[in-house]
Symmetry: C2
Subunit: 402 residues, 2 copies
Amino acid sequence: MTPASTGDLLITNIRPHGGAPTSMLIRAGRIAAFGAPEGQGVPTFDGQGRLAIPGLVEAHAHLDKTLYGMAWYVNDVGPRLIDKIDNERAAKRSLGIDAKRQSARQVALTVGHGTTHIRTHVDVDTDCGVSSIEGVMATRDAHADHVTMQLVAFPQSGLLIRPGTLDLLDAAMRLGADAVGGLDPCAIDRDPKGHLDAIFGLAQKHGKGVDIHLHEPGEMGAFSMELIIERARALGMRGQSVVISHAFCLGMPDVAVVDKLLADLAAAEIAIMTTAPPSRPVPPVMRARAAGVVVGAGSDGIRDTWGPYGNGDILERAMFVGQRNNLRKDSEVEVALDICTHGGAAMMGLADYGLTVGNPADLVLLDASCPTEAVVARPRDRITFKSGRMTARGGAALFQVP
Amino acid sequence: MTPASTGDLLITNIRPHGGAPTSMLIRAGRIAAFGAPEGQGVPTFDGQGRLAIPGLVEAHAHLDKTLYGMAWYVNDVGPRLIDKIDNERAAKRSLGIDAKRQSARQVALTVGHGTTHIRTHVDVDTDCGVSSIEGVMATRDAHADHVTMQLVAFPQSGLLIRPGTLDLLDAAMRLGADAVGGLDPCAIDRDPKGHLDAIFGLAQKHGKGVDIHLHEPGEMGAFSMELIIERARALGMRGQSVVISHAFCLGMPDVAVVDKLLADLAAAEIAIMTTAPPSRPVPPVMRARAAGVVVGAGSDGIRDTWGPYGNGDILERAMFVGQRNNLRKDSEVEVALDICTHGGAAMMGLADYGLTVGNPADLVLLDASCPTEAVVARPRDRITFKSGRMTARGGAALFQVP
């Protein structure tokens, strides 16, 4: 059969979450029933006994600045965060990194691996203005049938240290960005109160959430996190409308401090996002979830001027989450996968995500006996559906990009 | 063309280590010349401009006990090392883990990804005796044309704490094992002097080297490492005939202690092996190499009762080494690949390894512009030659296993 185009489909013989074989009836792109027999007057797709999992959620990307598909970039950047920031801002012009073209390429790459939802942080600065926001919005609109996208207006080069950036963030929000971004209020912006008051103020003005890059480690990061929690509480921003990305300070050795922060995050309904980097302290995902904190996961930048790694495969990200947190039991590896599906969806505030009747039919079929095998084997032969329409097969998106 | 069977071959249009395109003339399985024109009276293989790297070196495997190819094993094992050891010894019988069959399966898996050399640790204990040694030796002999294998007789369940094991290790060495293994002289065997004297004595008796699993962290591991260095010096065991696998203690925060240990390891010509696990302290590979220490890398156990991860892809291991050590520059990622090729070969004491005239023609061709792209993209379409004979293509070995 050919990819369904109407959003009406009967997928037979699939095993949702590794359970018993069943069928999934899809009508107008949404899951209408499980266990429906054939003869529904809709096209049929034979799942051949494959495992079915919800569409993978890329909860933290930087689509506007990947170099994927461009000439190989020889990286010789310095070790500090600010080295990478300055190097990148210059490289955008010298290399001609076009946000629209590059974001489309990464969309195709990651949808090819089974992604159905993306939150991407998009650079806003006094060099590029809101042009990257506009480029990624064009990609979002062009691929609305292939992936659900959220944009965070992200002051990558600093906010208060680069006057004019706050106005540009305001402009990005007027254009329709979904959340206000932030970045290391102490380490980069040198004024934690000023930085956080500015971005929370902007979020309040536009009635949107915030998603803050917090790389600051140890006690400095814990201090910034406390300031974020105080503001979320004071403004009544609940329900994961505040997200702290990276949250490396939660990987500090002082378990008592970490547990208190986790409890406060959970009470304030603030979510965290981890990429589970092997060389950095990371939030302990099992303890975070046990405390009630919503945890999503994402790729961060891939194939960019920051570093050469990454392929946009969120199933591989689940493996990284599992390995970084030393998750070995099947029940634990399933948590890593849950973070890369339901966790990311909750972090993004998606109300109708998951393999439940009534939700959009966003799912991935793969040749694995169980969810843990899917994570560790990462079979390439995946079949992805977005609102009941096939978007990818065999590791490749079924649509063209520049 | 079909896989060469004579070991005579001209491979045209390849880029060794990412350099200028050239040809490689192979006679009787060894590299005879670079840049030879066609018309040598040997079959020709068109490299189509691919990158050529030396055959990948799996410097630390446990071929005898992978579950790869068996029914999915639901892991629910406890968190301590001893939990995993005891669980595994029992599982070998209950699951019927056949060392000969399983080692052959992992050989095919890892050769499929481009491996040409393997050092494997093989369990010797009072339950299985030397039967696993015999099984893996059968695999080694059956696949001698496909991969070079070294066996380490490994007291996985402890040496002195399980009387009779030392005699079995002696028997394994008489059967022809290549090195004497050891395991956490403090943490597992509870008698560091007794453990190390026993295994070094056995190595001396048989004129072989040692390769010791040292998971012990921090000061305890540093203490055991000092004891190992003392014995290597006293016995004049130079030239990487002593290997310390894992060496987690070198990941301790006290840089002064680590640098002293690295200097002593280098002076004693003791090599280390890292799997670069994301959730454990690890040896800092750049500092180790700068100090002059030989560093190899390996998969450790894959798909076994210890955990579900791993696929035997040593190019993926290079990515792990790079990410765990935060290697981002091209020049640094090339070091990660070097550890997974020349480093492992030096650790194994291979005298004739590498893309140099006179050496066996052990190489991998892949579709990547440069070594760093090979590591981060890990293209599946690899073509592997062992002594000039094609052993794998497209991610799969060209030979059959049970």
